[in-house]
Symmetry: C2
Amino acid sequence: MSDTQDVLFRTLADPTRRALFERLCREGEKTVGALTARAGVSQPVVSKHLGILKQAGLVRDRHEGRQTHYSAQLGALAPLVDWTSEMAGFWQNRFDQLDDLLKRMDQ
Amino acid sequence: MSDTQDVLFRTLADPTRRALFERLCREGEKTVGALTARAGVSQPVVSKHLGILKQAGLVRDRHEGRQTHYSAQLGALAPLVDWTSEMAGFWQNRFDQLDDLLKRMDQ
DNA sequence: ACAATCCATACCTCGTTGGCTATGGATTTA
DNA sequence: TAAATCCATAGCCAACGAGGTATGGATTGT
């Protein structure tokens, strides 16, 4: 039910947005202009995507004069890691149960 | 660049689809009818979502008479785990406050 | 053979969203 | 002060996608 997972998945589903986030992870803090230069889309589009990433908690911004610096907030990925771990856990449990069952049938 | 990540994120971005996948992870193999009963959407919609999940490699189907059984293919989540790990790696190279996240991922 | 059930496909509709241009506020530079 | 730069917002449009209903093929039950 956790809504944060939904926000994360929806936010990272867009390739342009994911690319922006990846660049911030790889290269660290960047201004909007620097990001726009290699984004392949217009500056307003970059700003909008950064706004969405910010709202999802995946980036934070820092204002310095007339430019805005964005940086990745990797901690926001935790719910995603938790979700995958949970799914893997269920999977493991089912195999344990199957193991159990097979052992019973064996005797 | 990897297109598989894109497919995974896009596929899991939809709540209905994610719910179906979660149920298959939690409860194991299910028929379309059983899934539809609690999905909150119509049967054709469920079938369509299952088709998309299958195309993404997240589920597999098994035909038995007139019904189709679907089950989760958890291995398909690997690219997603890899991606988060990669992002975490970049981040860690720059700073060093990653303990919390790493603990979760270590499980 | 006929009816009923299970599932998938086809088709349509409508809301969401990612892209653009235009514009304006804020700041720096000439 | 005037011009230029940086960024965000607003408004618009086209495309995608998730939902529905209708339908048909395949299988099971009567």
